[in-house]
Symmetry: C2
Subunit: 426 residues, 2 copies
């Protein structure tokens, strides 16, 4: 893929087209080999088109088909190919028509969008005035697409994929399995899995993105795809407890689905009491439609006064044990649950820093409790980070993991690889 | 820049390092010429290092310095240079020390991170176990950095920029001014500013990132830098009311600072009542250290029952006017403020979709109220989006904007470019 545009190269916009496209290719079993991002300089574009045309079978060029003077893709392709730009009369008609229907005056500069390299084959753009096209140069088909994301996506789906499947018949079969983990570091996972014999054609990849590490098992070719389920089971046997989802990219999404599934016949209701996470647990669940089925309330009791008034925490508890303690967080979970008599009450209280830590309760300490009508589970952990954002993200994931385990009828308290457990009540 | 990693190439993660780095270079007056993204294949890495080393003076390589088998940057560089990998004993000590201080067991795979190409000059990474380094090949210095964003940023600021300024002496003077706007679309801002004569050497750029559009005024060269303050004032005269911060990248950060500033002598206290935003307003404020000075509580009253029990909303209000109404949101703001008698109470209730809309109150409707001890302001708006995430983000920013305006002694209710005001009480 060749991405063009000064605003992409200079980071004014994050290139979401590239990520979307690469993801789609992967799902189709097509491997992206390289991505080159170039600015709006004619000589750079020409050099890149020629250079890459020797190495790839297909090159998608994104951007530079607009009406302004810094849109140079067609001109650069004509130069690379050593041919002239020629007006495509069919597309000129389309542009004139488009402006007529929109009731807008056509700017003469728009006619530039109908000028294609002489050997180009037009590729339809049903949703805009930028004309797509493709040109053969050396080994490669260069496939030109507009930078506007909505137009790019339509053209890829309706034109590019059919072209690929018509032109290259026997695409290798591929399959991707993702396992989302939490609480164990990337190097510890890699070491744990280093003893497994990886079947030929399967690649094992890791993606760290706080609070998760995602393990990717990618199989290419019929034999590898056939071996994938068995190998996945082997991986799960080794690192099983660290896996928090086999279907979603976040623990919040997994817990949301478990709560919805459990609520299918009879709503399972939840109340949250948050301190250091400050609404993060609630906000992550509310991100998904349908969360109102189970989530009744979330109280961010950020001050001691709010913990007492709102949640019924005892003054003596705060005075004697502090706000980040097993006793306090248990009272928070029970208090918030009782208020609307929900099935579950989940509470988090911790020290996100940079201030507020002490020798006994350093920055990164977090207390968590889950209350049902019958029982309360609680734990106190130390998260080995110093910064506020990762501490809050891991705290939120720890709270959600207690809930996840309870919803799967597992013990809500677990051991985590890099997070030290300090106290547990069960 | 060469970005490595299958997860970046295949779009599993959006490459925010690349955008951040390109932006920083621009501020420094350094032009990025090209960016190449390659996966974790040794031969691709080697070929890219060699090929680009003929064209650039400096190449930043990002990623591939981790402990796992798909981290190949050092090995590829050694191959490109035709030399061996050698363990750096200084860095080995650093890694062992790092694990000792963290109280964690070092995994054997981590020692891989101390193996550098023989001719490499070590570059310090004060915040992680991945060792940076630089190697000269053909025309270029290749400068290797870790993929973890926090480590990458520290290394660029503390090592890369000093290296560049030492090695290449006469960089042109540049300056960048950023104006953060909210509520007016990019094309409307561009149209409004199109009448201004932009002084030579100044570029006007836009960066849209929901819920904001950031305007960037970039000056290159002495005369342009001198003309920048005056031109910035001209821009502010044209689009002034849309500007929500001249110093921070988000309205939440600006409001946090205003609340801290106001609280310097006597704490200004705040309570939040959220419905559709589900803790997002609270979570955005709690992101910053010191928020406990002003934020006392945030109640996510996601169910009608919680609105009644927690916030004292009248059943009749919910029955007759609905949860997304001026009346309900005013009762929410007054109720949450009165509970702990804070100075301010801020409430949001809206329809984030996809369900729950009606002809009268479609998806995107949001009601907002700000209560002080003496007065309540409220408004009902329609956000012209259909998706849950942008509706929640804009709702949160609208609530924070009411607060921001009040803290600046401006009328809390404003007109927004693309968000329709339906009802106002003042």
């Amino acid at each position: 893929m060749i991405c063009t545009g000064e605003e992409v190269l200079s980071g004014q916009i994050v290139d979401t087209n590239a990520a979307w496209f690469a993801n789609l290719l992967m799902e189709q079993g097509i491997e992206m080999q390289r991505r080159v991002t170039v600015g709006d300089r004619l000589e750079d574009l020409v050099a890149t088109f020629i250079e890459r045309s020797h190495h790839a079978d297909v090159i998608v060029v994104n951007g530079g088909l607009g009406p302004t003077s810094d849109d140079l893709s067609a001109e650069a392709m004509a130069l690379a190919k050593g041919e002239a730009l020629v007006e495509n009369s069919h597309w000129r008609g389309r542009i004139e028509d488009w402006y007529r229907r929109a009731g807008r005056k056509m700017n003469p500069s728009n006619l530039k969008q109908a000028r294609l390299p002489a050997s180009a084959i037009m590729v339809d753009n049903p949703v805009g005035t930028a004309c797509g096209f493709r040109v053969k140069l050396n080994r490669a088909w260069l496939f030109f697409t507009p930078g506007v994301p909505s137009e790019f996506k339509v053209m890829v789906r309706e034109q590019f994929l059919p072209f690929i499947h018509d032109t290259f018949e026997q695409l290798e079969i591929t399959r991707l399995t993702k396992l989302l983990t939490f609480g164990v570091g990337e190097s510890q996972l890699a070491d744990a899995l280093s003893g497994l014999a990886v079947p030929q054609g399967i690649t094992l990849g890791y993606r760290s993105s706080l609070p998760h590490v995602e393990i990717k098992l990618f199989a290419r070719g019929e034999r590898a795809v056939a071996a994938l389920p068995d190998f996945t089971e082997q991986v799960k046997r080794v690192i099983g407890p660290a896996i928090v989802s086999e279907r979603f990219p976040s623990i919040a999404r997994e817990v949301h689905q478990l709560l919805l599934d459990r609520s299918a016949h009879h709503a399972v209701t939840l109340s949250l009491a948050e301190s250091c996470t400050g609404g993060l647990v609630a906000s992550q669940l509310v991100e998904y439609p349908g969360s109102s089925v189970y989530l009744k309330q979330a109280l961010v009791a950020y001050s001691n006064q709010a913990k007492i008034t709102l949640l019924g925490v005892q003054e003596a508890t705060l005075r004697e044990q502090g706000a980040v303690s097993i006793a306090c967080v248990e009272e928070m979970a029970r208090g918030v649950r009782a208020q609307l008599d929900t099935d579950l009450g989940l509470a988090v209280s911790g020290i996100a820093g940079p201030d507020g830590g002490s020798a006994d309760t350093p920055v990164g300490s977090v207390a968590l409790a889950l209350a049902t009508r019958e029982h309360t589970w609680s734990q106190m952990l130390t998260i080995p980070f110093q910064n506020r954002t990762p501490i809050r993200q891991v705290s939120s994931a720890l709270a959600l993991d207690m809930l996840r385990r309870a919803l799967l009828d597992q013990p809500p308290l677990a051991q985590y690889g890099f997070i030290k457990t300090r106290l547990v009540t069960d």
